[in-house]
Symmetry: C2
Subunit: 478 residues, 2 copies
């Protein structure tokens, strides 16, 4: 399968996010957890096939008050659940304060929760049960199972927590199953990055702003790099030079390969915007504090001739891919389709999760590219034999018309491109928005850190305040 274009944008587009956790990368969990499995219907919405699969979930009850203390339930997204468990330190940090049990539920078709084992991705028939609706049904059934089977949990109030696509699921879960969860913390959840709810270009202009303010000449250098690559790609010698300058494992052979190089670079800048954290971290890749500032140190002179400009771009990219200094060459397919997690998300982006994106090269630093639904549809048909239905998600989850729901916190990072599709203003008293100006992609869900900016500390305090309120009210109602 060839590399999908940027039309199929991943939410967490790096290998680390989607495959098993790397050794020595993420911080160890604050406390150990148990790994459990529950038999789930493969098709909650039909009765013809009565097959089940084993859904994995992780459970930690060290701090749980066994007399109906609350449960924080992570609505797993597109990846191995142990990775989310290890990268959602906030839940571990607050477990004691809330006397809460922690549950991390794996999303079907990711990690170990494969409905048809190795056959899960073999064709559109086996992929047919990979939808957000089926995933939410899994979560509902799992919580009801826990309430019935864990002693002391029958009346435990449950709060959904999730980040990114997991944040979308947390919000949607509260909307669709308010009898199962008393509230939801939806961190960096772009629930409005659909249809024409938000402009398609904002996402990339946020990425651009992150670079613009992180160093003089930085975003302009990147903007100028595309034509530099285009000019060099016209000759075999230029392609050879590019392959060598970017330390590519497989040399570029033609214009299409050069386009792949540009996509790979674009994704790198996007990922950097998502993980522009104020301290050394290993979320998508091991990176220094404020990595865009580090990257931008190499990109101060946008007026350089093509080759020196691109040599600087390589140095910048090298910060992202080779902070550890171990990479001998760069494999451009590494951020793409190598593992099941990414396969799953590409399928979802080809069916329900149609997020229009566009660039104009003026308000952003990328090559201009219009949103092209027809091209997406063709690519999806070629890849999976399915056609996307872009309006379905709006019909299902209500688009901007969600004011009748309650008890959802939408938190957003000002640096995070996904805030473009997020809820950034209060809708009602109990559908509240939090913006963390210095935050990247769901910084608030990460462990407390001495370098945390004030804004994320305040955000977390407010989140805890609301969660306590929901728990209190649930206890009162019960």
């Amino acid at each position: 399968m060839s590399r999908p274009s940027l039309l199929l944008l991943l939410l967490l587009s790096a290998p680390g996010a989607l495959s098993a956790p790397r050794r020595g990368g993420a911080a160890p969990p604050a406390a150990p957890y148990l790994t459990r499995y529950l038999a789930q219907q493969i098709d909650h919405f039909g009765f013809d096939e009565n097959l089940t699969f084993q859904q994995r979930y992780l459970i930690a009850d060290q701090h749980w008050k066994k007399d109906n203390g609350p449960i924080l339930f992570y609505t797993g997204n597109e990846g191995d659940i142990t990775w989310f468990c290890n990268n959602t330190g906030f839940m571990w940090d607050v477990a004691e304060e809330l006397s809460a049990m922690l549950v991390f539920a794996e999303h079907r078709y990711y990690g170990e929760s494969l409905p048809f084992g190795n056959e899960s991705f073999s064709d559109s028939k086996h992929l047919n049960y990979l939808t957000s609706e089926q995933a939410l049904a899994d979560f509902a059934v799992l919580i009801e199972y826990l309430k019935e089977n864990v002693v002391g949990a029958r009346f435990s109030p449950v709060i959904a927590v999730g980040g990114s696509y997991g944040g979308m699921l947390a919000a949607w879960f509260r909307m669709k199953y308010p009898h199962v969860v008393v509230g939801a913390l939806a961190a960096s959840a772009p629930i409005w990055q659909f249809g024409d709810l938000v402009p398609c270009g904002t996402y990339f202009s946020i990425v651009t702003n992150d670079f613009k303010k992180s160093g003089k000449g930085c975003s302009e250098s990147i903007r100028n790099s595309w034509n530099a690559i285009n000019r060099l790609s016209l000759t075999d010698a230029g392609l050879q030079w590019l392959s060598s300058a970017f330390h590519l494992c497989s040399p570029l052979k033609n214009l299409q390969d050069a386009a792949t190089l540009k996509s790979w670079l674009s994704e790198t800048w996007i990922n950097l915007a998502m993980v522009d954290y104020p301290y050394k971290a290993d979320f998508l890749q091991p990176l220094p504090a404020w990595p865009i500032q580090v990257v931008c140190k190499f990109l101060t002179d946008p007026s350089l001739p093509d080759k020196p400009l691109l040599q600087n771009v390589f140095q910048a990219v090298n910060v992202y891919y080779n902070y550890s200094g171990e990479a001998s060459c760069f494999d451009m397919s590494q951020t793409a389709t190598k593992n099941l997690g990414q396969m799953g998300w590409y399928y979802q982006a080809c069916t329900e999760m149609v997020m229009p994106m566009c660039t104009d090269g003026v308000n952003d630093m990328f090559e201009p590219q219009k949103w092209d639904f027809d091209a997406l549809s063709e690519e999806c048909f070629r890849l999976w034999g399915v056609r996307p239905r872009p309006s379905w998600i709006l019909s299902m989850y209500g688009g901007k018309n969600i004011s009748s729901h309650s008890n959802i916190i939408f938190s957003n990072g000002g640096l995070d491109p996904w805030s473009a599709g997020g809820v950034t203003q209060n809708i009602t008293d109990s559908l509240v928005a939090i913006v963390i100006p210095d935050g990247a992609h769901h910084l608030d869900l990460r462990s407390r850190n001495p370098c945390d900016p004030k804004s994320v500390q305040q955000a977390r305090a407010l989140e805890i305040h609301y969660m306590k309120q929901w728990i209190e009210k649930a206890r009162h109602n019960h």
Copy 2:
């Protein structure tokens, strides 16, 4: 296919309810409507099969205020939509007062809205898309289509209206798609007739009470009739006598046929309880006013010997089946599986709609029968090759834990056995219950009638009051 047992209880168990309307039966609609069709996804929840079918809907805009006036949307249930259109006079009566457009949407797999045409019921594969979730998705997509394509309807507030299973759908529609409908009138909707939410015997004790208070000796006569039949069924002569006494088209041959006779009689009593209206009507069958009182005139002496007792029972049943005097013999299969509508409901009762029912012969006038889920499951597997999932509907729609929703009116008839599973007490300010003590099955949805008891007049006034409130609020929000 043999007659399904009472385990599979129909909500509207008469041929009239489920097949095309009879000529000369129902009152003509107050105004003409247009018949339209919309292409709908056969599977809203999966992308492998991209097939569509034509959903039928009826539309009447004579009274509609074209500048975003409201829409009353009937969430069609288990039958031909023209029949519901002609039997929901309330909507026609209030259209002018509310300046409302009327839309009646047919439920998939009923009437003309057959996803696979004549093959729709051929096997569990073709039946796989017959669920309440798919039906609600049809309704949501249809409303969004109308708002986009009917000039002046873009901001029309939509109110869901339904009775019986259609009332359940109306309530669930507001719960799951509050962005699509601003409120719902759920008339005689037994949304709690699931799991152990209500006692399984209340339904039959309500039927019994209706007979008890409609004539001295009436319910006792029926209670005594079962053993009379049992005794006669022991001999061929007795079976012959029964066949002749009940004017059966096909004579009884064995004990199993006698059991069928008893089921048929039970269903008749149940149906009479549902349609015990205060005026001559033709809902399930053409009937006199207060039909149970008429029936009970034949059932005054429960102490009669078997044969005269059963001759009286025949006279009573004859009121129900032969008020017009045209029937030459009675076909017991007529209330069962003859038409697609009933096929569809039996399938739904075998999958999602598992409504526990039981009798004890003490608090009710029926032969004692425990709720037997295993027997149901076996019967469903034999009939359709599927197994019911009794807890799914609770996971999906929340059981009794629905207080976070809003703007739903649950109306109930005190005479209606389905009120056993209905919401009969207010849950919150905007989840309100109405009980109509003199009302049978969704009497409030019928046309105004000079014989209407005060209680139903008051109920309708209150319903209109709430609907106006929702419309006003929607207009204000817009």
